[in-house]
Amino acid sequence: MAAAMVLLPGENIPTDKLPKPKKGKLTLGPGLQHTPPSTISATTAGSLQVDHRKAALWLEHAGGRYQPSVGDLVIAQIHHSSVETFSCALTPHTSFAILGQLAFEGVSKKTRPQLKAGDVVYARVSKASKWEDVEIECFNSATGKAEGMGQLKGGMVFDVRPAFARRLMMGTDKEGVSKGGVVVLEEVGGKVKFEVAVGRNGKVWVDSGSVRETVMIGHLLRGADEGGWDVEGQRKAVKKALRDV
């Protein structure tokens, strides 16, 4: 995509931009809406991304608001617990998400998880719709294993923009180049030992052995997010920060 087209809400996509699907099916991603018979319009402001191989279209937008969707890994903060569930906050000033007390690995009705208000868990969104409460779970309900989810102890939670969190979770492509263009964590990980969990709702949990290193990692994350550093700028900033610590 040489020059990505920027769309405003309500604008229609011109037909020459649409990829040619092999089986006659076009996949629409977030931010697009289909009005039959053949109009596709944008619902948010963003740049249009097209994948010709998979015949898919979607809009990338650097919005500040996270909307839960099924399968997302999020960092939730427990607000209060009731009889069978914990009420957790995924984002401030929105309704609580429900986490079942039995949605953990290795618990039963007799041995419930010991979580209090203010604790932080890494969970997966299992149900998300506009008209119901969002539901999250701390284990993979198919296999019954935790797979890294559960309570996060110690460390520090940093706030980032949801679009930046998405870039952090994009992973690397075949050559080992980061697809999202964020290399700070890999660069720092070469010299400093730390654990990290990225929540798609705009939160990153970092736990390094020392307070100073965790503060440095948080500072680098904020710089890469708000400063908009590119890959070279991120490498330079990491080198400078590692020298100071």
């Binding site: 401030p92 604790d119 520090m156 949990w205 307070v211 500072h219």
Partner: protein
Amino acid sequence: MPHATRPSTNESAFVLSALRENLRLDSRAIDQYRPISLKFSSDPDVYGQTDVRMGKTRVICNVSCEVITPYSDRKFDGVFNINCELSPLIGAGVEIGRPDQAELLLSRLLEKSIRRSNALDTESLCIIAGQKCFHVRADLHVLDHDGSILDACCLALVAALQHFRRPDYEVHGEQVTVFDVREREPVKLTLQHQPFCVTTSYYDAGTIMVQDATLLEEQCREGEIVVSMNRHGEVCQIAKYGGVPVDALSVLSVVKQSWEKVKMMDSVVREALSKDERERDKGGRMKAELSAENERVMERPVG
């Protein structure tokens, strides 16, 4: 549904352990303020509008005035009101018209620091005793909250009062003519001193004292001490509403630290005011027009 977010146990424990090692999350020193940005209105006819930013905290202030009848029990004084509002833009369940405790405390501290200390001389606002006076009104809106809103509000208010100009007037017996800004150059207000507020948050029963706390640091603190003073070291008020007890010597050292910060804030305001005056007076034209010297014209004498 709006609910104020409390930080998680991980975050508050981390902030406390970082402070015990003399570290802050944005790599500032323990008593260092964030860079303060103070801007006035760019409109050349508008005086008394300020926009203050301390990191992400943002406050705007607008000073305006009108002519009214003074109160019958204070015939020789004008009226000065401060109206401070937290905007719903901050989030956290803030509603206009329903002040919560934080907003009430903010208004009360501003009243004590600025009105009760007579920073603005209300006698200078009187036009004709008992009949006409100026009513100066300052409206503050907090647009973004990342800690230290009282410090930012006080700075915005003092800068706006120093920047504001009231209309000029003339009194002939019982008749008062208040001139429009286009007829006569407006006049600055008489400020007797410039007070500033410094908020110190403390942790570990007063052993760690932090100035200019961010919102996260404020939510984890054990209490706060607010000191209002001017650059001469004259203290207007010291407030400590509840919180963990602190010994008296710590309070004295807090007052001394605050004095340094007040001097810093005062120099920020002075610099911004002089820069703004230079920009409004481009080419020195104002000085030339307000000068009383006449041009010398050679005329032939009559007769």
